[in-house]
Amino acid sequence: MTLASLIRAGAAQPMRPWPRYLLTPKAWRAMAQTDAGGSEPAFLGLWADADHAHALFVAESPLLASVRIEAGMFEAMSPARPAAALFERMVHDLWGHLPGNGVDPRPLLDQGHWPVLRPLSARPAPNAAPAEPPEFVGATGRDLHQIPSGPVGGVMEAMHLRLTAAGETVVRLEAGLGYAHRGILALMRGKPLHAAAALASRITADSTVAHAIAFARAAEAAAEVEPPPRGQALRCVMAELERIASHLSDLAAAAQGLMAARCGDLRENVRVASHAAFGHRLMMDRVVPGGVAADLTPAGITALSAALDRIAAAAPALQRGLYLMKGQTVGVGICRPAEPRIARQMPDTASYSRPSAATAEAAMREPSANDVDARLRLRLREIHGSTGLLRKLLARLPPGPVDVAVPDATGEGLGVADGARGDVWHWLRLDAGAVAANFARDPGWLDLPSIEAACRSARLSDIPLILRSINPASASLEL
């Protein structure tokens, strides 16, 4: 029995736009143990609510499988899918559900400093035990030394990196989280949609639009409304602007000297144009459930076009800059290819095709080529793809209203948006217009395994470059 048919055999629950399948513990165990083969649905994430665990897969359409928690436990998926380990640790920290047979029992977010244990469970318990320092696996062997870095003053925001090195060669890099936990999921619970949307767009600053779109889509699906065409087109404009700015900022961080200055300058230009067009540099809170909060004026279109022209004019220089970096970037920091991006291929979530996507995907899938150089070149290609897409969008913005009213509904929805790093998924259950349960799965969840893989047997001096080429977003994990 294939994984997809195993999941589809479960009892379909009324989630929109795709059903959710409630599995029996036996079926869930079979699903968890099914080895993820090449053509199997890709594992995207795992989360929970008060009495269920949910696992998200995606084949040609998303498959959300659920299982009831029995005796505080559910069968872990990490033995067959190592990427699930982080999610299982998070589920245990936030909801207290124990992943049975999980490969990693260490806490991820709760480092013992929270006032309560399992804050999202039905009955949080007060935290009485003193905090213990985080554990690292490290490595054993002769002449190994450990180098701590961060969370203050490191290259990555609010993340502790523990490097085990043999001389100048890294044996293992481990990332420790839990320094910037904000309790966003708990804050969103019980809030009306507009307040919860504002919180969702603050999960991580450089993907604020993507998170707002995914949340809005989930809410619209749950409430069974459809934003008007102009609203959808404006969302796409904002998402592409965010992608360009985010990629430019990543390139600026990875590059040095003139290249860094040029990328930083272009990024700033995009942010200023975004402010002129939408009234906010990051376009935070401009995407709301039901549509968008602000219409685009002709003056805004002019400002955006000017910024796009500058990026197009700088294209040869950016290519040259990446070419000059090749001595440091080729063959460095190789990790497994990124997960397949779904949002841009699914007709019912992305209204606009992205011409550059296919070639970019091909480059990402080729495992031998996924080094720092490949990642940076992919960003540059996506910047050009987004610029072309934006020009088309701005030239043909559909007329009409930009939003519709979202009624106070009860229901469940799953939404996805094409973010700069990958697909952003939001799942939420509404109860009379208020958020009853929810989760936000940022592509950052797969970044931690990526940086650990990419830094293995790398040179110490290459570590900052490798990290910047991936730019793991710890904020998106500190929910």
């Binding site: 030394h145 870095s149 100048e168 040095q256 003139l258 001096s461």
Partner: protein, 309 residues
Amino acid sequence: MTGLLTLALHAALMLAAAPVLAGLRALVRARLSGRAGPTLLQPWRDLERLLRKQPVLPEAASWLFTAAPFVCLAVAIAAALLVPSFTLGMATAPLADLVVLAGLLAAGRFTLALAGYESGTALGGMGASRITTAAVCGEPATLLVILALAALARSSNLDTVSATLRDGPRGLSWIAAGAALAIVGFTAIGRRDDGPALTLVDPAIALGYSGRYLAMVAYAGQLGALAALGVLVALFLPFGIAASGAGPLAWAVGVAAWMLKMGALGVCLAALDAIGPGLSPARAPAVLGIAAALAFLAAVVVFAGQGPV
């Protein structure tokens, strides 16, 4: 008497100019990157700020750790006093031997590396291992250049070599020796992309220093950079420098020429910093190997030109 007077003027000039050169590099680098940049005097302000801060020492540090900055600074000041700036014939001229200078600069590095190991922290040890690796790779080139120049001038005294080079022909050995020394100097004081920069911007912080100790180490580094560039200028760009026994007018010309040369070199360094990809510790040995090959070429050419001794 004139020697002492010029030495005093020279000392004041060097001690004041060392942070300014660092400031110039930071400013030019920022301008080339499209930023406004700090003022020229920013390194002086930083030093003053650091002097006011309370130092924090690693738990495992012994007296050696606190003594090292004083040794570093003393060695750097000694080196800076030996390198002629605007005039030859200072009171320290007889002592200004190339081997002594190379030894002083190496002693500074050695002390800093020792302190890095001594602090007992992983980053300190790594910074120290980087310093020693670079030194091991750089020394052969330095010594071969000194050998070539000493053979050319029949003396390893800086003043004598400088005068010989100024009046002598500019042949292959001159080019090769100059290039080798420039590479060694620029590698030693250019921007590094150090791995410990995971947390640390400044390698000195990697060694665990803070407060006035950090100020001393930083100031010693700036003086060392100025001295290294000073050797390069005195040997290979000696124009404008006042001859031994010249008067105040020649001194003024010398000061202006020195500032011009140092400024130009500082701008070059900053441009390399801003435009170049930066030298990673892994590539430093290869670059220094090229310098050693050039220095060897210079030495061979000099000896071949002199015939059987």
